[in-house]
């Protein structure tokens, strides 16, 4: 390809201009020097063409998911918008029982965005994709004028394969099933809040942003009865549990004393009047397993770094379908409703 031999002249000034969105040479310079350099060898075709033996297996299903990411700040302790996008899409596939295979990545870039920032984002995406064993195989860039976006937005879509016979769904949860989480709650929301700097909070908090595919496979191997899994992102663990309670027509009771919370997150929530149950997570798995497989599932989760803090936090029950409650530390019981609005805009 001719372009491979030519330096990326249009990137000299290291700021993205509207010309980089025009479909011509400037755009190709940007795409090739920043994105395809990080993701895949440059190709001329607009679409990836892929084969996988797993897809051809009788009874296998294809899983397909998408998410846009608009987090601010774009870079934060524990990750950046690119890592968030890869983890988020890998996790959306994995919680449905799929083995993630391929990702797409589309960038909406504000005129004036630093090319160096885009390079860092592309590098973290590649690193996280490698970690999760997925390939970023196709992409797109658009540039909008100053003030029509906020630096960069990333939309990732993912394709994976659900092996034959695997059926994880919220509707499968049964009374008596135990709710597990893989570790502390609310770190992503709290880290983003602190990183915004508006609150003059000084913390060492990091986003929990992580791919959960390996953790889910390990849990499934140890607890094949695993009913369903959820990635407790926007809306926090409370929203994930409410969805599961609704889909299964059961109630879920949490034990407040069992909830794993960092003292810093607890403290920040108390000062700001936030509820950690609604704080966003980006590497927090909620899984329901039959009671007799709970110990095996916990042991399997704890054997991995991303599951080291795994604990049981509650249980599904018959009656009051769709309701989530919490047994408080003082022996009371309160309803954990679905969040109506939002606690923090642009958290992911």
């Amino acid at each position: 390809m001719k372009d491979g031999l030519r330096p990326a002249r249009t990137l000299r000034d290291e700021r993205v201009t509207l010309a980089h969105g025009g479909g011509g040479r400037a755009m190709r310079d940007l795409v090739e020097s920043v994105f395809t350099a990080a993701f895949e060898p440059p190709g001329m075709e607009d679409q990836a063409r892929l084969t996988s033996a797993a897809l051809a297996e009788p009874g296998a299903r294809l899983a397909f998911t998408t998410d846009s990411f608009v987090v601010t700040p774009v870079e934060f302790p524990g990750g950046d918008i690119g890592k968030l996008a890869v983890c988020g899409t890998v996790n959306d596939l994995a919680v449905g029982g799929a083995r993630p295979l391929w990702l797409s990545a589309a960038f909406i870039i504000e005129e004036g965005c630093e090319v160096a920032l885009l390079r860092r984002i592309a590098a973290t995406m590649r690193a996280e994709a490698d970690r999760a064993g997925v390939r970023i195989v196709t992409g797109d860039t658009k540039v909008v004028q100053r003030g029509a976006a906020d630096r960069v937005y990333v939309t990732t879509s993912g394709v994976g394969v659900i092996p034959p016979g695997r059926e994880m769904a919220a509707g499968n949860v049964r009374p008596g099933d135990v709710a597990l989480v893989n570790g502390v709650l609310g770190d992503h929301g709290a880290a983003i809040l602190a990183a915004r700097g508006d609150l003059a909070l000084s913390t060492d908090l990091q986003s929990d942003c992580a791919s959960l595919d390996r953790l889910i496979e390990a849990t499934l191997a140890a607890a094949p009865g695993l009913r369903c899994a959820r990635d407790a992102t926007r809306g926090g663990i409370a929203s994930a549990l409410n969805e599961i309670a609704e889909a299964s027509a059961l109630s879920i009771e949490l034990d407040e004393t069992a909830l794993p919370l960092r003292p810093e997150v607890k403290g920040m929530c108390e000062i700001l009047g936030l509820d950690p149950l609604y704080l966003a997570n980006e590497g927090t798995l909620v899984a329901f397993v039959p009671e007799d497989q709970a110990d095996a599932a916990l042991a399997a989760m704890r054997a991995l770094p991303e599951g080291a803090g795994a604990v049981a936090i509650g249980r599904a029950q018959a009656g009051e379908p769709g309701r989530v409650t919490m047994r408080t530390a003082f022996g009371g019981r309160r309803i954990v409703d679905m969040l109506v609005g939002e606690q923090l805009p642009r958290i992911c």
Copy 2:
């Protein structure tokens, strides 16, 4: 599902607020009443789980593509951002030889955006998806504050199946192959330019925005030697031809007198100093076929409404690899280079 029985109370004011992006009940109201209502029956899972016999066929490959759309204005003569997104993704799949099956749709919405606009966009997306025989199976919404987007951006990804043995690629073009287009050039770019109203141009121009999957299948049936196809979008037909010339290491010579251009588009370009070869199209197919199949291909294209204006516009030649030239009406010859910057920002 409890929510199915509840009116969408948070949408009373008919403007999107930041609360609609929070992951809680307000977001679900928006998603269910606007998007899942138009696309698919509401589901609780974050990912689509899909089966297709076509995928399991030995030798079949999966095609995967993505595009973000940031066009302004969001609604224009001949379509809107949603139709553009569906057609664009269907076309990206189809030009690679794939039969489009499934789409995802992710929306980045500016606070204050009218819910009625989103409903219209969702409706045109559904209508265009039905026309192209694809299903919109998964999606996402994010809301950003006023001034961090421009009403709404849409990112679609697509999955399709390339039948066994089908191999369309720019690298396959051979000397002597004929370049065909399905109709007039530049309508999308010209229509968007006129719709912006800055130029006080009054025209009846409509975007050519259309799905090309049926046209490509018909062309393939009539001309099985079809080497490659391109959807001449951003950067216009000039950019598409330059990419093909590079990938095939051939030159391409166009015949200016053969280029199908509406007088209005030609006139607008003359007044504004634009080159119609670089104007964006959203339903314009460029296909290369062996010379002895060109007539059959043209006849097949002309039998469909979206190919009614099909003509041959040029030819691939050995020598001068990567160069595109045009034999002008006056007998001269000029180079048709790849666009460097952009003619019109946010054209798609």
